[in-house]
């Protein structure tokens, strides 16, 4: 996604978008089946370092982007820490029951979310949508009708945001931009949604018609303006990730931070 933040093109940007997806998505499954917090802590450190060094963004911006994650970390871990099951009680006050087990489980969950977030950010910040969909068409055989629909929708986003501003102003002038009560609030959401959605629907229809009028068909035999291929950077990425995952896993066994090896 374009963030309007300056960045340098690094090898992470050069890597094939489909390759990135193929490497990142399975990590979700792998992470879900890891129950040892030590492993997750190591991985978090490893991938954070990778991100900071090679995302091509200035440190100041990276830190700014990481800010919300801290909040998420606390927020995700808190319910499990406060209300989770456990044997070794540390603290009890009314419904709140903090145990050693629930504490580590909470922290583990926090790291899990953090890792997902890092992968997401790493992908989003180093991948141009246009190249992503061109790559998906060429490497993953995604049907053109889906790929170009996504691209058209992405193009419409700034237009829609501008329209949202205008609707807001228009409602303000008519004193219709505020509402009281639950029902009123729902009506208000509709008042914003109807003009925006109906405009989007009409525009989507027109764009589809104009695309077909320009000779678009859903056949896969088409040429591509951007040729996207797999390359050496995909191998780099694979190797780096492999090293982080394997080293992190064994270090967790050899030099654990906490004694708990399974938070379940």
């Amino acid at each position: 996604m374009r963030w309007n933040i300056e960045y340098k093109e690094t090898w992470l940007h050069q890597a094939n978008p489909t390759a990135k997806l193929l490497l990142f998505l399975p990590m979700f499954v792998v992470i879900v089946f890891v129950h040892n917090p030590n492993v997750l802590i190591n991985w978090t450190i490893g991938f954070t370092v990778l991100f900071m060094l090679f995302s091509g963004y200035r440190m100041k911006h990276v830190l700014l982007l990481f800010m919300p994650f801290l909040f998420i970390f606390i927020s995700t871990s808190s319910s499990m820490i406060l209300f989770g099951k456990g044997e070794t009680t540390w603290f009890r006050w009314g419904l709140v029951h903090i145990t050693e087990e629930s504490f580590y489980r909470g922290v583990h969950l926090g790291f899990r979310t953090l890792l997902f977030a890092i992968f997401g950010l790493m992908f989003a910040l180093t991948t141009k949508p246009v190249l992503l969909f061109y790559s998906l068409m060429q490497q993953a055989k995604l049907k053109p009708k889906y790929a170009y629909s996504f691209l058209a929708a992405v193009r419409l986003l700034p237009i829609m945001l501008e329209e949202f501003q205008t609707v807001h102003q228009a409602l303000k002038v008519r004193r219709a931009a505020k509402a009281k009560g639950f029902r009123g609030k729902l009506e208000l959401v509709k008042r914003y949604a109807i003009p925006l959605l109906s405009q989007s629907i009409r525009r989507a229809q027109r764009i589809a018609v104009s695309m077909e009028a320009k000779g678009f068909t859903n056949e896969r035999t088409r040429t591509f303006y951007y040729e996207v291929t797999f390359g050496k950077y995909d191998v780099y990425l694979f190797v780096v990730m492999f090293v982080i995952v394997v080293v992190g896993y064994y270090m967790a066994d050899a030099f654990p931070y906490v004694a708990i090896k399974d938070v379940r």
Binding site: G120, L121, K145, F150, L156, I201
Partner: protein
Amino acid sequence: MQKKGLKLTDVLTTVVIAIVFGIVYKVWGPLYYAVKPLGLHLDQLIYGMWFIAATVAYLLIRKPGVALLAEVAAASGEFLAGSEWGLEVLFYGFVQGLFAELVFAAFRYKRFDVAVVSLAAVGSTIASLVLDFYKGYIDQLAWWNLTLFIGARFVGAIIIAGVFAYSLVKALEATGVTQLLRPTTKEDYDSLDK
């Protein structure tokens, strides 16, 4: 008449609407986290917003596959906008959309009422809970807390992705823009000869 599968118009309209909801999904994240630390799972009441793309798109376009596509597209939009959950949202989007789609399929894509979309919302809720079970150890919560958690999520989903989605589409129908989205019927063709 209508060919099999989704036409470009259907796909594009679905994706555009879904991406609008994708932005809502993204904005919903911080809101969700803001109410979350309150602890008592009030956040779960607003979780249903993340199912709404599937039900709205289905009600608008009324074709097989639309609910799944919409939910995946909305999740992609949320992801590309830099979601706090990162890649996770793609999995959730896919599974939630799939469960909603299965509900519509169970009714053979013939019903478009508030009951069916509410059921689809329930389907998406179940999907999200299954993933949460693996990802979030929710079974390790104290039982009273877990009950509150699940109950709030179901209730919120039915209100937002069921009832509200339905009334939103009704309001859109009144504007007339939905006319061209719907598949044409044999009666429409017959009336040419009257």
